[in-house]
């Protein structure tokens, strides 16, 4: 009898540990990034690090300013959102409200496929189709540029935006729509003036999720953005926060490597901010 209770308690303990595993992982990641990211920042100086415009990690007199990377990530994400969100939004409204079941089933499969394609495949196709096309069309010396990266990111965030928006739109109670239709509004007017506002928190969550995806993507943009630490402009080669880490990590050491950890820490802070925003919108949608 006592023994049974002990066993039950031990099992409870094991499950408690498993339950806390996710929390442990988040702590592990945070602690590692902070511990390994702080030294370089203190050595370089927070201001020089964040707002320095020159990154020359392998020069005889190295400088470690990551403003170019921050700006590239921000511009790149903003560009991807500007292009990807409208396309994803209108597709989601069409699929959740107007499309017949065959079109819907086909497109849902297509969107899942889009979500499942590995990022290196996007990078590969981008490298061989998009980059030469951008070079031809805009008549620039190298098509590997911020613009190409924005297009690839816009495509890569489409599935998140479509799926999450669709879920929100489909959850809108039919009574709202019926009421609007009964007042003489056409279906299309009803969807955009009643359903979309009713689903706005969910759609906002979709956009924030897209921001997170775009800012965190590394491999695909590495293959199409040229990877040069310029202050970003649309048709120039650029380097993102993610690609800055990825491209130098394998051969770096000393302060250079520590600076890469600091970049990762900055990226992580961006992501935590985005997560908090996402959570805010998701909670709002639940209420």
């Amino acid at each position: 009898m006592k023994k049974n209770k002990m066993i039950e308690r031990a099992i409870h303990g094991v499950f408690l540990i498993l339950g806390l595993l996710t929390v442990g992982c988040v702590l592990l990641i945070t602690i590692y990034l902070v511990i390994s990211g702080i030294p370089a920042i203190t050595e370089i100086g927070l201001f020089d690090f964040l707002f320095g415009t020159e990154w020359a990690s392998t020069a005889a007199e190295p400088s470690y300013g990551i403003l170019p990377f921050i700006l590239t990530s921000v511009y790149g994400t903003a560009g991807a959102i500007i292009i990807g969100v409208p396309i994803g939004f209108f597709t989601a409204v069409y699929l959740s409200k107007l499309a017949n079941s065959k079109v819907k089933a086909f497109m849902e499969g297509a969107v899942s496929l889009l979500a499942g394609i590995p990022s290196v495949v996007y990078g590969l196709v981008g490298m061989l189709v998009l980059v030469p096309a951008v070079r031809e069309i805009f008549d620039i010396p190298d098509g590997a540029s911020l613009f190409s990266a924005i297009i690839v990111l816009a495509i890569m965030i489409l599935p998140s935006i479509i799926k999450v928006s669709m879920t929100a739109l489909e959850a809108v109670p039919k009574e709202y729509e019926d009421a609007s239709l009964a007042l003489g509004a056409t279906p299309v007017e009803t969807y955009f003036r009643v359903s979309v506002p009713a689903a706005k928190s969910g759609i906002a969550a979709a956009v924030v999720l897209g921001v997170g995806r775009a800012i965190g993507e590394a491999m695909a943009v590495m293959m199409v953005s040229g990877n040069v630490p310029n202050i970003p402009s649309l048709f120039q080669s650029v380097r993102f926060l993610t690609t800055a880490v990825a491209s130098e990590m394998s051969y770096s050491s000393g302060l250079q490597q520590q600076a890469l950890f600091s970049i990762a820490l900055v990226l992580f802070l961006f992501i935590m901010l985005i997560n908090a925003t996402l959570n805010f919108f998701l909670k709002k949608e639940k209420d």
């Binding site: 049974n4 994803g88 496929l113």
Partner: protein
């Protein structure tokens, strides 16, 4: 009669919807077709069954296929018990709402962290701190953390569908909590675990940034135990290296086509599995 203004609004919105949906569809069809057209001609038995040789200058991707397989197996072996256990804790044991909220928020956070950061922390923790070196094992353990929230969530969803009356019936017969979970709750959540596995396999197959610094680039032909302790490139990493660093676009597209086929298969099986279990549940 609708006013001109209303007609224009409706027309405009309709056009925007058709154009967007058409664009998305075209994009997917183009991607699939392009990758297949460029890649399938390069897939040969020789490519699939050999390792790269500097002497003959030929490229084979058998090691990369095996590495990917090993990573998938190792990751699942760890992530399934951990994820299922976490889900059981949340649905069956946890009573403190704040603790549940904290665990769920942590899971949300984990699924939002970019893979490059996982790669970095995996390198610091598994390769260096635990001195597993750059190896498939380090890579797999990194992927375990990445996929933990997925398995946890799908299991949680299916645990929620187990009727309370099953639990009551078992408790009413004098079964202890662990026995109730083992005999009544767990057998009913197989669908969630399988869905979680399929989603995880999809993510593992597509992952590259997290493996770059944890599992490495080698193309050696190994058995599973040898393989786990030595560095090796997965298919995605091999694609990257062949395309970006060696300019071997034929091989890169062949791998891309293989990955595309696998992605299609995984999506298909996910749909079939959920349909199968939905039908079974109706009975």
């Amino acid at each position: 009669m609708l006013s001109k203004k209303r007609k224009a609004y409706i027309g405009g919105m309709k056009a925007a919807m058709y154009i967007s949906t058409g664009l998305t569809a075209t994009l997917v069809i183009f991607l699939v077709a392009y990758v297949f057209i460029k890649g399938i001609p390069h897939i040969s038995w020789e490519l699939l069954s050999t390792k790269p040789s500097y002497i003959s200058g030929k490229i084979g991707i058998l090691p990369d296929i095996l590495n990917t397989l090993y990573i998938v197996i190792a990751t699942l072996i760890f992530v399934i018990p951990l994820g299922v256990g976490a889900a059981i804790y949340l649905t069956e044991y946890a009573k403190n709402k704040r603790l549940v909220g904290m665990i769920e928020y942590a899971a949300e956070t984990l699924s939002g962290i970019p893979s490059i950061i996982y790669g970095l922390v995996g390198m610091l923790f598994f390769c260096q701190f635990l001195s597993f070196k750059t190896s498939l094992l380090s890579g797999s353990l990194t992927l375990v953390i990445m996929n933990l929230p997925t398995v946890m969530r799908t299991t949680q969803e299916s645990l929620k569908t187990v009727p309370k009356s099953y639990r009551d019936g078992a408790f009413g017969l004098g079964a202890g909590k662990w026995r109730v979970i083992r005999t009544v709750v767990l057998p009913s959540c197989v669908d969630g675990v399988i869905t979680g596995c399929i989603l995880s396999i999809g993510r593992i197959l597509g992952e590259s940034a997290a493996l770059l610094f944890t599992a490495g680039f080698a193309h050696a032909l190994n058995g599973i135990f040898e393989g786990l302790t030595s560095p090796g490139a997965s298919l995605t990493v091999a694609l990257y290296v062949y395309a970006k660093e060696q300019g071997e676009f034929g091989v890169a597209f062949a791998i891309a086509a293989i990955l595309m086929i696998l992605t299609l298969l995984i999506n298909l099986s996910a749909t079939l599995v959920s349909r199968y279990f939905a039908k079974k549940r109706e009975l």
